[in-house]
Symmetry: D2
Subunit: 434 residues, 4 copies
């Protein structure tokens, strides 16, 4: 495989997997691995190197780290396997203390070597080794099937982070270079807004155990959810603009105390990537600078902004339990990464269901701090460092975004970020008590 060159930059990347997922583990493995590389087709070599902030990582690092996962948790246990380069264990471990020291996170952008070509070679090597393993007798690889499955979902998370991190890095460049062109442009009006009712009840929440889930979605448990109403669609950019124009960023009464401190220290005046030019709001997108479309879902908001907006319109954010109750019967169709729109959009069909755009478009902030479900137990060993140790100081987001692989999401899926994070495609769905 030759790694992508910049000549392809003008065309949208190809090779993203169709939303269907292959039946076999080997099929899924190669599909997900290819999808990561397909996302890189439009990149110049230089674009792989930069770390634009501590929260982000270079693209090169994402490609190597997801490979390190399979080498560390699978291949290193296969008798006779020799590490591709013993020093990579240190360079590409993210935060798994159980398997050794880590190269300091804020320094990831200092690594010019291994080069991009060398990282692709590392991927090929590990892909072949895992491929060989999976072609063999299932008795041989069965003991790793769960950890491989987990690795694929882990890699899908990194696919999304590659897009968020790349967008952030490109946005810092005064040239505002586009990642790619859009497949089609979003057009039309946002779906009608209305409230959808839900009755009080003790609900079963969390993952039932059928199909893949992360540990943090388990165990299935009951929760008393009071009666509530949920907005039929996300808040649009036009609606959010009313908040900006009403001086929402200058009114401390609308903000949580920590949020107000963030507004002042960082000089927030609009969502991330918004710029005012000659009286019009533009924003940087993966397809370049564009005027803000008031009908699109608003995105790149912190929790603080989502919460302040909700207070401004006299509603609130939903709890994650409320969100999940509403999502349980819903279809998971939506604007995902496979749409190649690279941005939240007006739904093509205009919105036809009770609850539009629950899945895809924007991650929806909930008011629920990220914590353990009752009787939650992290798995034993290094894999146990995956989710549990982050159950502090973050908030849950639900539903996936335009950057999420379609096969990655489900109604029980819990994403989580610190409340000041804005570089994800994060937005707002309102709620209120009945």
């Amino acid at each position: 495989m030759s790694f992508p060159t910049r000549d392809d930059a003008a065309k949208p990347p190809e090779g993203l997997p169709a939303s269907g997922t292959p039946a076999t583990l080997a099929g899924r493995f190669h599909g997900v691995r290819r999808a990561s590389e397909a996302l890189c087709k439009p990149l110049a070599t230089e674009d792989y190197v930069v770390q634009s902030m501590h929260d982000a990582s270079p693209i090169k690092w994402h490609l190597a780290h997801t490979t390190w996962y399979f080498e560390t948790f699978v291949l290193s246990e296969v008798p006779g396997y020799q590490p591709y380069d013993a020093r990579y264990a240190y360079l590409f471990n993210s935060y798994y203390n159980s398997v050794g020291e880590q190269y300091p996170r804020p320094e990831r952008g200092m690594l010019t070597r291994p080069t991009v070509a060398e990282v692709y070679a590392y991927r090929r090597h590990v892909n072949e080794a895992i491929g060989d393993l999976l072609e063999g007798d299932a008795e041989r690889w069965g003991r790793w099937s769960d950890v491989i499955e987990l690795g694929l979902h882990h890699e899908q998370q990194h696919q999304e982070l590659m897009l968020t991190d790349l967008k952030h890095a490109l946005s810092l460049n005064p040239l505002r270079p586009a990642y790619t062109r859009a497949e089609r442009s979003s057009r039309g009006e946002a779906p009608l807004f209305r409230w959808v009712d839900f009755e009080e009840g003790v609900r079963w929440l969390g993952h039932s155990g059928k199909g893949f889930s992360f540990d943090n979605e388990r165990p299935l448990h009951r929760h008393l959810v009071p009666a509530f109403e949920l907005a039929s669609r996300p808040v649009t950019s036009g609606e959010y603009l009313a908040f900006i124009e009403a001086e929402g960023y200058s009114r401390p009464d609308l903000w949580l105390s920590d949020g107000w401190a963030a507004v002042q220290q960082r000089g927030w005046k609009a969502p991330l990537y918004w710029e005012r030019r000659d009286g019009t709001w533009w924003h940087f997108t993966l397809t370049g600078m564009r005027p803000v479309d008031p009908e699109e879902p608003v995105c790149h908001l912190s929790y603080y902004e989502a919460d302040a907006y909700a207070r401004f319109v006299d509603y609130r954010l939903p709890t994650e339990q409320e969100w999940e109750v509403a999502a349980q019967p819903a279809s998971t169709d939506g604007n995902f990464v496979e749409s190649r729109l690279w941005h939240p959009a007006v739904p093509e069909d205009g919105g036809r269901t009770d609850l539009d755009q629950l899945f895809g478009d924007v991650w929806e902030w909930t008011r629920s701090p990220y914590g353990p479900y009752p009787r939650y137990e992290p798995p034993a060993g290094a894999i146990g460092e995956y989710n549990g140790k982050f159950m502090c100081n973050q908030f849950v987001l639900r539903g996936g975004a335009c950057s999420t692989p379609a096969s990655h999401i489900r109604s029980t899926y819990r994403n989580f970020f610190y409340p000041d994070a804005r570089w994800q495609w994060s937005g707002i769905r309102l709620a209120r008590y009945s």
Copy 2:
């Protein structure tokens, strides 16, 4: 009134209110106001001035700010009242944006004027004005009775902060000066440890509305609480020592990710105020340096340490709902500030109830992030800035400590601090699922 001089430093402060609370609002007002000043009896003038960290405030500032409360929210609305000094509105507003700008919090220790004597004069002036008001016709002051009542509970919170802030400031001094002497020393063995069972059920939680409560304790609401067991008493210093000796502070697997970062950045190796001298652990207390008593409840722990300890012994911290279920039928007796022990202690009676030391001794960290109860609404106006705007990034603690006024606590009381805070008398009560 002459303000306290340093000659009294050798004797424990007098004049702390008995735990009974006066029946009339005027009686309560004068009692609480006197109690704040009684806490200052052992201080030198210099002790009032220092701000030892951003989280803390000078004693002088506490005395003035609690006075500003009554002047701003009551007297300024009384026809004809002239502000004592118009500039104090800026200097002594803590965080109430609705009533104006605030002098920057981290600079509070820069203010040498008004002097301590001038702050006491300000207190006398406001005390007299409120006193005159309350002696008058209740028709006249009735409209402010709630805000005055709130002001007294607010002042009691600051009484506790005066002790925590003072302890922190004195601890930085290599001379390790004692605040006062202990009334008696803690002696004897910790109560026997056992687990107390609670069955699953949908419980009524929060404040019923009878008697005073803060807005964050309301409204009364139902919550499904799974079956659980609660430890019969707090974790002792001796038990915590086993965690230290087992290298608990060097094992990342025991810590939340943010906690582990805190351990490393700040070099935590033991609870705040602990010092190892010649192989023995000592700690700084309000009564000076003392050897750590292994039978006392351990205190001055962050949430991160409490959580790591619980993981170390394979249990967990309780949720605030579990804690409240357990505390609803319990007596609120305990080691409060009126005991003049100035530190958690072995109970005098050795512990006789199912659940010992639920109230007093140490604030008990729960695993519940501080957030709004269902249908919570902050009050309108400036008073609404009291609790709601802090519902983010903090954890709930329950039960009061040796620094809490006895009349200030109740089973529904929710205290809250950031998970890295250690300067409160905060400790651990363990829980587990049945």
Copy 3:
């Protein structure tokens, strides 16, 4: 001796020494020691405690540190002397590594104990011990006469720092409290400005060895000084105002690169302590807020501002050699601390000499980085840490200011500060090549 109380605050402090200096060492010792305390007469106890920035120290610390000097370098070598409090050696050592560890400088404002009264008691104790020593046989104390003499000049430096540090601390208080009242107000017009010529020549510079000098003024040495002209008086506030009004603070071409960075990072727009109120410039002085008098020498300027101003008017700052050549024949009369004006002023006599106000009023920035004279050697032992180790990154100032004791200054005296320092009474005298 009772230490000063606040009742005296309204009156200017008394007891400052007349500018004559006593003939005997004992006389000088007691005179200088009294002068330090006389400066504190207007202070409230609270004013002694605060450290308003890292560069400054609490007044209490100055009083104790100057006492520690005599105890450490004299008394501790007197057979049989017992330290007053062994722990003070750590608390009050400023930077003498040779005599032990130091309490961290930025934490000096955290020390509420020893109290002000205890520090005065410490002073009394050491004063008596030194007094007893000096009343004895000169054979006994002769070996310490130099170190005592040095200690007195050291204490005079701290007297000046007490005023600069106090002014800074009071300036942070929104109440802008005055230190004292002015003895008289400055009035009249600045002396006429003219250039004074000096021919080229190889000059003898530095201290000849007669009378006291610091090591950094020695040895006497020759230097080729090109022909130059020196301004007859310092730049006035009115002249500096023209720089402000010409947008001098917004023109990078006028500034050194590091200076421009300082202007931008700290938002400098005028000298320290200047505030614009309703279109008029006021400044905070030790006698309170006053309108800026355009005839007074401008002060509280950094080296960067002095240098930028000189470039603005197309001249330059003098070298320290030029300054010294000009000052060698001049009288050292001037507006010193004994004038009790507490600020630079128009000379009472209107200025009558070739070079007015060379001494007193403002420290004059030279363009000379502070470094060693040829063949400079610091003294052996701890006293050697006095001056030499600071010969890096600082600039020389000459001539003393309104805050300097008259007996402390001479034409060879080299003061030095970092180029961004503004809290001294530092100003500008211009020079140019002939």
Copy 4:
């Protein structure tokens, strides 16, 4: 021209100019421009992108900035010239305020675009335009000959910075990748050490005006230089090792106050790039990790370390005037970048002159703060921002290093860095008074 690919990495770069300099301006222009690119032959694309600290810049940026110089100061004044990309004026201006705003220096490593290939295309474009200009009538380009000449010396400075910045970036990589292979290895013993005498005298210093010089070397002026002795060669790594072994990094008495603060804050224990492995000192060089050769000149020292070492051996650093007096009659031969040793070395001939290695090998710290010579005037216009505005807080280094182009150095050349800078090949030559 194809830009260098990584396949060449194993071989030392070719195409460095011979030390002779072409007679014509066009010849010199193309030679210097080629030399910059020749230095990049061993690089991977990724190596061009990284900014490893604020003081450093990406290689890509150096290549573009030196090109921007010629476009801005020459081509933009040529009638009819169209800027290659108008946005580059902002991206690649370093600090010339007179010609516009600058992209923030610390963010230079965030720019993935223009790509390396695009920067090489920019160079080609400007090279051709300047080449065309210089092939034309000298009457046409004569007015720019000085600014072109200055641009070439400016580019040579950046050639040196490319090596220092690249070394720093590669050193952060745990893989410690080598830039290239060494042409030959240094071998043999350091020249014998002796003192060389110089008599006192009033000396003519600075540049006479014949041939190129920077403004900061001018004007020629007289200075009284006292008698002194200069070491015959630089301090070796072996000699410096004695300082390390004598705990020189732990003895505050040896250090300037600011130096001691740097030692403690940054944990310095040896020169930059030194690492202790199994009891042996290794260091990172452009040719990879190597054991420290005790006979080589020690390098990568801050001024603070150079000064402390001199104090340790009871000598001192020379003034820049002393250095220049000694260098005036000396040959400028030495170990420069054209030697392709990439590191200071034992001289091939073993050292045969009175003063060995005055030029090349290591930049020699002087004790002279960088300031203006008497009657110094910066040139008018943007070019005036070149040197004068840095005359503050830095120290002068003399003589060039193994990274300097041979045609760039002369006895009057003044290099300057902040005293804490260590990433240059900076070393020590001792001096003492006769």
